[in-house]
């Protein structure tokens, strides 16, 4: 599984999305479950899955899937497999 697929599965797991509901263009306002608890859950999942510690401030700044990819790329995770 490449990193894009891992990120897709992570979003589906954290926000209970079906494959049809997920897209790489998703934004926080598209997902009702992406509330303050969702931010914490996303940070925990990014740590679990990619081994990257994301602070609460960094997690709050993630506004969409692309933002999660950018945050991970800053930690050395590549999405250009």
């Amino acid at each position: 599984m490449d990193n894009r697929e891992r990120l897709k599965k992570l979003f589906m797991d954290v926000f209970l999305l079906s494959p049809e509901e997920f897209s790489f263009e998703l934004k926080r306002e598209d997902i009702s479950a992406w509330d303050s608890f969702g931010v914490v859950a996303l940070a925990a999942a990014l740590d679990d899955v990619f081994g990257c510690r994301i602070s609460a401030e960094e997690a709050m700044d993630i506004r969409d899937v692309a933002g999660a990819m950018r945050a991970l790329e800053k930690k050395g995770i590549s999405f250009h497999d």
Binding site: V14, F15, L16, S18, P19, A33, F37, A41
Partner: protein, 395 residues
């Protein structure tokens, strides 16, 4: 000192239980696998108060929580309840009762065995689906029979009996011990075309009935009917159902010792519920099935309704604390779902519930373990090591 009878002995020797009932000495009827040690039972018997050492009886209640309790009933009260049930269900028309549940289960013990003793009716000892051929014979040959079932047994009629599953000799059919299978009523009428069907509600401490109602189209499955004569119900501030019944147990023994149920004292049935229109009562779920997580109320029966909107297999929740020590619940489904199916189940949680109400994990098993009374054995399920984990919350 009370004496102990194992259900297996009572099954193989019909007179044994009757002799015990007619003998003044209190007796305890235990299931084949009581789940407690003989020492525990002996301690329970030794702990009985003086006034319960004669003309009483004890039944073990394992319940779905797995915490054993020896419930002590008065024979006089139990016989009175058998008469009330007989009147309510017009059971004078029934000539026999077919036993499909363990005799040590207070539902079968009072509604069937004791009823057959008080009204001098035949008790047909079929062992339910643990001996399907015996059960089939009993149902085929029954004339004007009464049968007591739990909802979980209904699908087994098709599984085991297929096109033979039509039994016009059964004229009364009782359900208890689990939600009433209102949605399956057409199918059940097809299996038992001559039966009047009743929903019965109670608990072991009530020994065992509190309410009953006749099946009627349009009523919800969780409508358990009106209190029987001699029974009063109320709802406490937390929404729990409390009862006072002239037929209730006189006390019970658990790990903390013997506790009397005093006359006139309100006792918890173990369920949440409320009175609805016409004096009927609605049961909203087990009291220990509702809890708080991150300050939010979580009702496992409500969550189960959510699951059923997207999953046609079986499902059950059990309680577990999460890594933070917060109360939570785990969803187990059977059979194993495909990825699309489990994603669909999860998706309805997102659409209908807040994150605090989502399960901690989604697991599956090939088949559920059942208690003798037909309920899913959640204690055994928790211990099962073959559960597949499909999803877990990361928090």
């Amino acid at each position: 000192m009370a004496h102990i009878i194992y259900a297996k002995e009572a099954d193989s020797d019909v007179k044994r239980l009757l002799d015990a009932w007619l003998n003044p000495e209190t007796f305890v009827l235990l299931p084949e696998r009581p789940g407690v040690s003989r020492e525990w039972v002996d301690n329970a018997v030794r702990g009985l108060p003086e006034d319960a050492r004669e003309r009483h009886f004890g039944l073990l209640s394992s319940g779905s929580t797995g915490q054993p309790k020896l419930i002590v009933g008065s024979r006089e009260r139990a016989e009175a309840l058998a008469r009330v049930i007989n009147d309510f269900q017009e059971l004078d028309a029934a000539r026999e009762t077919v036993l499909a549940l363990p005799l040590s289960y207070c539902y079968a013990f009072v509604n069937q065995w004791l009823w057959s003793v008080v009204f001098n009716r035949r008790l047909v000892r079929a062992r339910g689906f643990s001996a399907p051929n015996l059960f089939l014979d009993a149902l085929v040959n029954s004339r004007d029979g009464m049968l007591c079932l739990t909802a979980s047994q209904v699908p087994l009629f098709y599984k085991y009996f297929k096109d033979k599953a039509v039994f016009p000799g059964i004229i009364r059919l009782n359900f208890a011990g689990a939600p009433f299978p209102q949605k399956d009523m057409d199918r059940i009428h097809g299996i038992f075309p001559s039966a009047r069907i009743f929903n019965n509600y109670g608990c072991a401490e009530a020994m065992p009935r509190l309410t009953a109602r006749s099946e009627r189209a349009g009523l919800e499955g969780n409508n358990v009917g009106r209190p029987l004569p001699g029974v009063r119900l109320k709802r406490d501030e937390q929404g729990r159902i409390l009862f006072i019944s002239r037929y209730s147990a006189v006390g019970f023994y658990d790990d903390e010792g013997y506790k009397p149920i005093k006359e006139g004292e309100w006792t918890a049935s173990g369920d949440y519920g409320e009175e609805i229109e016409g004096g009927y009562w609605r049961v909203n779920g087990r009291a220990d099935d509702v809890f708080k997580r991150f300050g939010e109320k979580v009702s496992m029966p409500q969550l189960l309704d959510t699951v059923r909107s997207s999953w046609s297999g079986e499902a059950v929740f059990y309680r577990e604390k999460d890594d933070n020590g917060e109360d939570g619940c785990v969803l187990v489904v059977s059979p194993e779902p495909s990825e699309k199916e489990y994603r669909d189940i999860l998706s309805v949680f997102r659409k209908n519930h807040t994150r605090a109400q989502w399960p901690i994990r989604l697991e599956s098993v090939d088949s559920f373990p059942f208690l003798g009374n037909g309920k899913i054995d959640r204690s055994a399920l928790v211990k099962r090591r073959d559960k597949a984990v499909h999803w877990h919350q990361r928090f």
